[in-house]
Assembly symmetry: C2
Homo-oligomer: 329 residues x 2
Amino acid sequence: MTTRADIAKLAGVSESTVSYAISGRRSISEATKQRVMAAIEQTGYKANYAAAALASGAPRMVTILTANPFEAPPSQIDGALLDGIVTGVRESGSHSVIWPFSNDKNAEIEALIKLNFSGGVILMDVTDEDQRVHSLNRANIPFVILGRAKFDFAYNFVDRDFESVYKLGLEHLKELGHINIGVLATTSELNPYLKKVASALKLKLKVISVANTLIGGNALAKNFKQEHPEITGVISILDYVTTAFVDAAAQYGLSIPDELSIIGVNILEEQAESSNPKISTIAFNAYEMARSSGKIMVEVMAADKNVRKKKSELWVGDFVDRGSTRAIS
Amino acid sequence: MTTRADIAKLAGVSESTVSYAISGRRSISEATKQRVMAAIEQTGYKANYAAAALASGAPRMVTILTANPFEAPPSQIDGALLDGIVTGVRESGSHSVIWPFSNDKNAEIEALIKLNFSGGVILMDVTDEDQRVHSLNRANIPFVILGRAKFDFAYNFVDRDFESVYKLGLEHLKELGHINIGVLATTSELNPYLKKVASALKLKLKVISVANTLIGGNALAKNFKQEHPEITGVISILDYVTTAFVDAAAQYGLSIPDELSIIGVNILEEQAESSNPKISTIAFNAYEMARSSGKIMVEVMAADKNVRKKKSELWVGDFVDRGSTRAIS
DNA sequence: CTGTTAGCGCTTTCAG
DNA sequence: CTGAAAGCGCTAACAG
């Protein structure tokens, strides 16, 4: 097996020069760099990941924990998110792998922690008080959650910037002249961001609690006029409900958008372009959001070593929100 | 960070004793083992994966390349296969991760090879002359294909034992008195195994070429009696076609199984149990099949080092076929 | 801009 | 049954 020593000998330089020529972490004359690269090319040398990870003390490997796509039909959003993570991590000079899906999530996280090979983990599909998050926190492994959930400690996350999204949506509805706004949600309590924005705009919000299914959307359309006569504008974060609601409205004598303006806020940029023209949509770029998470991850890893504290290069796109970084170490 | 040196000091033994207590690669007195384990417990010590990989020279990590489940609806078979691989690899004392899905398969394989961190790779969804296989072969990275394809060099694979499966199916049809057998396939050429078995049993085979879609199955049912009047038995490897065919048959005046016996051979054990009772099925255990691949993988890795040439523990279950191992070194 | 060198934490001979 | 010690291939000071 070819090592850096071989390359050094062949190129007539020292081993460290070879390393720096490859990593670019210090300046090298163009001439020597060329010779090193030629030697690498010639020998077909490949870096030894394990050696680098050991020597640097920081494995440049991020592990992704996501929901099992083989269990239920996977969402387009998750696919876009995964793409974004992989790219974001790579841009930061690390690599990412997906941890095998399993039915026993807690057992998997223990295996991952015990293996102790990844520099950090990115978690998707996290629920409130998710055991995996507690385990990761306890094991002191850097992690970032894509989304948010309730925990009794600080943690890193990347999520949609709901405040901006809701602001945009409600402002739009107000411009159209709507005052009484229905909010489609699975819970009956009002989202705090939504509440805040609405009070600033002097709009009246009414939560309409419904299951996020096609059936739920259909049922909603059926009785909407009778049950919510005052409502003329709707803001919805539920994709299935919204679709079914709009599709069924006409047959129940509800004319959209003439009698009711609807804004859907949980949709991908790509999907938005081909969406139902009866609904206004506020799309978000899942790719950018996920990409951010990769960068946060790598920042956290670097901070852990207390070196290379490079300034954050995080790009916070529209509708992307980054949680404050928990102090590690 | 706790290291093996810390554990050794705490337990009052040498570092190597700690290692052997953990790995079990040489005998240790029960007493010392207990002390070592206690020290590990007490300190919360976690092995350093990178250090172990570097020192042993054989990274105990298998990378899985599978089709992107976010692109098309993933099959149950692929899910079961993945489960089996993970278990098989783990049983062999290694770990596995899934390489991120991507649209550019060739770019991904180059990245994987360049990273040089995995002891071997398991490939699913391989097509004839798949570039990824050529790259892996050229880079001299141990790999196993789940399934089979055409290449101009030897390679390791695990696949269904089609010869046994076809033998079973055709024997069954013969017992039922059928002589003229239709073969549902996407290609027009007859599978060599099928041909071989049929000639031994003196059965007449006729390939019926059809796309593996529900529409294809429906169209087939419509004209089946007119186009293939002589055929009374069918063997099919196409799951979608078979389902649609059987469902549609009655409405086109074709009575199954009275007029036509059908055997489906591309189905999971679990699916077979709840399958259409009009079809006979030869199920296979995807889990066992995939599990085998994990073990082969680890064997190949070991062979690569020319040490620890332990005897194969491969369990070849019914309908599981293992390709002859390519000489590495 | 380049070289020297001391480790990173673990595995595995070799020697008891 | 246990210890000592030589690396595995690379990184990152430190020294020019």
